[in-house]
């Protein structure tokens, strides 16, 4: 087909209300993100009920902004994509219901989309993906190694057994009395610190690509307790650096080992934690050493946004894999089952 096509995508899986319009699967015409972070900061974390309320209040405003910013009319929208899961159920519901309503209103197909597939295919908005590729997904809710043997085919080869990386960062930040969200603060402290307090690394079984961060988190808390018992101040910088080094060491080592084992032609770094400078730098160095191309989307496409949902939905648009108006928000939606060609 020669006529350009436009996907309108909606993402409301957590605390960001986002709508994007993407042309021909890769050209982002608009990508509006309304963050609720200031609202949730007062509570020290995302409050699901408040997130849902905010999504309802923002949804049509953001829809309108995205359509206007894209410079298209609603008549030019060819399909509606929406994050079906995973995420907070009450938050997902708002986006799913709005997307279904739009699909009915405009009489265009609906595409239910996997949030993590979105994080991975955000890379498609900045470059071509070569297969097999290995994606390292690190965010507030996810830590996964995903093998893409072919376009739209997802196989999880490793995942966290307890906390996600972002979660561990937030918990450690809270223990160090740093503001929410904690990731950027720890990253900054770690970069500035002159020394590191050595902390354990959870390698798990020798052949495992899984992760575990709860032991590391406990080690951090134990360090803080020890310092407090001795009446010494906590060396926040050295502790942050020790924590970050442990996380980065494990995550990057496993990613490189997996890339080699599965013959990946590219490594894709995705998710909000991709903003972490320490992680990016180390991964870039290791990939350069191994001669493995590393793709990292720009920051605005790493954190939750709707353009990435359109990028993933494009996989199904091109194959005509559409959802019905009975699409249901699935807080535990499986990535592997969402692969193309399974419908």
């Amino acid at each position: 087909m020669n006529r350009p096509y436009h996907l309108l995508a909606i993402e409301t899986s957590c605390d960001e209300t986002s709508v994007a319009v993407v042309r021909n699967g890769g050209e982002v015409l608009s990508n509006i993100v309304s963050s609720q972070i200031d609202t949730h900061r007062r509570f020290g974390g995302v409050v699901p009920e408040i997130a849902s309320r905010k999504h309802v209040e923002s949804i049509t405003v953001i829809l309108e902004e995205a359509v206007e910013a894209a410079g298209v009319t609603l008549e030019e929208i060819d399909a509606i994509a929406v994050t079906q899961g995973p995420g907070l159920v009450g938050a997902l519901l708002v986006g799913v219901v709005a997307a279904k309503s739009l699909s009915l209103a405009l009489d265009v197909p609906l595409i239910g989309t996997h949030h993590i597939a979105g994080h991975i295919y955000a890379n498609r908005l900045v470059g071509e993906i070569e297969y097999p590729a290995l994606a390292l997904v690190v965010s507030g809710g996810h830590t996964e190694l995903v093998l893409l043997e072919a376009e739209g085919s997802f196989r999880i080869i490793g995942q966290t057994r307890d906390d996600a990386v972002g979660e561990a960062y937030d918990k450690v930040a809270r223990a160090l009395s740093l503001p929410y969200p904690g990731g950027p603060h720890i990253d900054r402290l770690a970069q500035a610190a002159e020394s590191a307090i050595e902390l354990p690394r959870a390698w798990l079984e020798p052949d495992s690509f899984d992760f575990s961060f709860s032991g590391l988190k406990s080690a951090v808390l134990a360090e803080i307790n020890r310092a407090n018992m001795k009446g010494l101040g906590v060396e926040a910088g050295a502790l942050a650096r020790g924590f970050q080094e442990s996380v980065i060491d494990v995550v990057t080592t496993k990613a490189m080992r997996a890339a080699a084992e599965f013959g990946a032609r590219q490594l894709l770094l995705c998710g909000g934690v991709a903003a972490n400078r320490g992680l990016r730098e180390r991964l870039a160095a290791l990939c350069a050493e191994a001669g493995l191309p590393l793709l990292v989307p720009p920051l605005a496409l790493c954190t939750d946004n709707a353009a990435m949902i359109a990028a993933a939905a494009d996989l199904k648009w091109r194959r005509g894999e559409f959802a019905t108006l009975d699409l249901k928000a699935e807080p535990q939606l499986s990535l592997e089952a969402w692969s193309v060609g399974r419908a």
Binding site: S52, T60, G90, L93, V94, A98, S101, L106, L325, K328
Partner: protein, 291 residues
């Protein structure tokens, strides 16, 4: 809204998901054209748009023929109310149609009245209060309107509480809001209603006080533990279990629309009647005096 518009035909597409019923309807000029009511075990988000689509197809209703999007604004189940409101806002925005919100409690009360006193309800059309607005009609208007019955919608709000309000329905179809929507302890509320009843002159008293809505919670284990027999002695208190009818949402919305009411689509939000627990705790902690 110009005066001419009020005389024109008005077709509303109506939706309510505040209770256990997924209710959708098409209404035209004060009457229900067709309605669908699904009991989806609080999973309204699955069928909400498909039910609308089915209803439209079945009745040959196209976008061009829709004049108003009508929606139950709550109160009720938080998640439930968000479903209809999100759908209605999006449809109204995409189709560029007026959006009119209606209190889900008023619609529950009006639905019940339509079934209890169909002739009187059908005559309704005269003075209808702006019940979903902020200002409740003064209690004085009850007697003035020659109230025949009181209608008290109740919706379970847990811990012995209910979302509730009070409406009066007159013999000639008068319909008025007397107490605005709120969350109240059921036992206290019934006592207050009774005091209000007893303070009236015998000739001004309603012939019946109907508690309506999904009333099973009144008798459930986690309900308010009312001694209903004792509470209903000496005055005409009647329990009339009922479910909301989306036709009532459409009819009430049409009236509001003809009075010139239209919501700001972007700003429109459910009426939860209460803050979230997290906000309440924050206020208790005294870290902020207001949200």
């Amino acid at each position: 809204m110009d005066a001419n518009h009020r005389e024109e035909d008005c077709t509303a597409l109506a939706l309510d998901t505040s209770s256990s019923v997924l209710a959708a309807a098409i209404t035209r000029n004060g009457r229900t054209v067709d309605a669908s009511h699904s009991f989806t075990e609080r999973n309204h988000s699955v069928r909400v748009v498909s039910d609308l689509q089915d209803l439209m197809k079945k009745n040959g209703l196209t976008r061009a023929k829709v004049d108003v999007i009508a929606v139950g604004q709550g109160p009720g189940s938080y998640t439930g109310v968000r479903i209809a409101v999100s759908a209605a806002k999006t449809l109204a925005w995409a189709w560029n149609k007026p959006l009119v919100g209606v209190s889900s409690l008023e619609a529950t009360a009006f639905s019940a009245w339509t079934k209890l006193e169909p002739r009187h309800a059908a005559a309704a059309g005269a003075a209808v209060s702006d019940a979903a607005g902020d200002a409740p009609a003064s209690a004085g208007t009850v007697a003035d309107a020659g109230a025949a019955v009181w209608i008290v919608p109740l919706m379970d709000a847990r811990r012995g509480q209910a979302y509730t309000s009070l409406f009066t329905a007159g013999r000639n179809g008068e319909w008025a809001s007397v107490e605005k929507d709120g969350i109240r302890l059921v036992a206290d509320w019934v006592r207050q209603l009774r005091e209000r009843y007893e303070q009236l002159e015998a000739s001004e008293r309603p012939s019946a006080v109907y508690l309506v809505g999904e009333l099973a919670f009144l008798e459930g284990k986690k309900g308010p533990a009312l001694d209903l027999e004792a509470l209903s002695a000496g005055w005409p208190l009647r329990l009339e279990p009922s479910v909301i009818d989306a036709g009532a949402v459409g009819v009430l919305a049409e009236r509001r629309f003809r009075l010139g009411v239209q919501e700001d689509i972007h700003g429109f939000a459910p009426n939860y009647t209460q803050l979230t627990e997290a906000e309440v705790n924050l206020i208790k902690a005294g870290t902020e005096s207001r949200i």
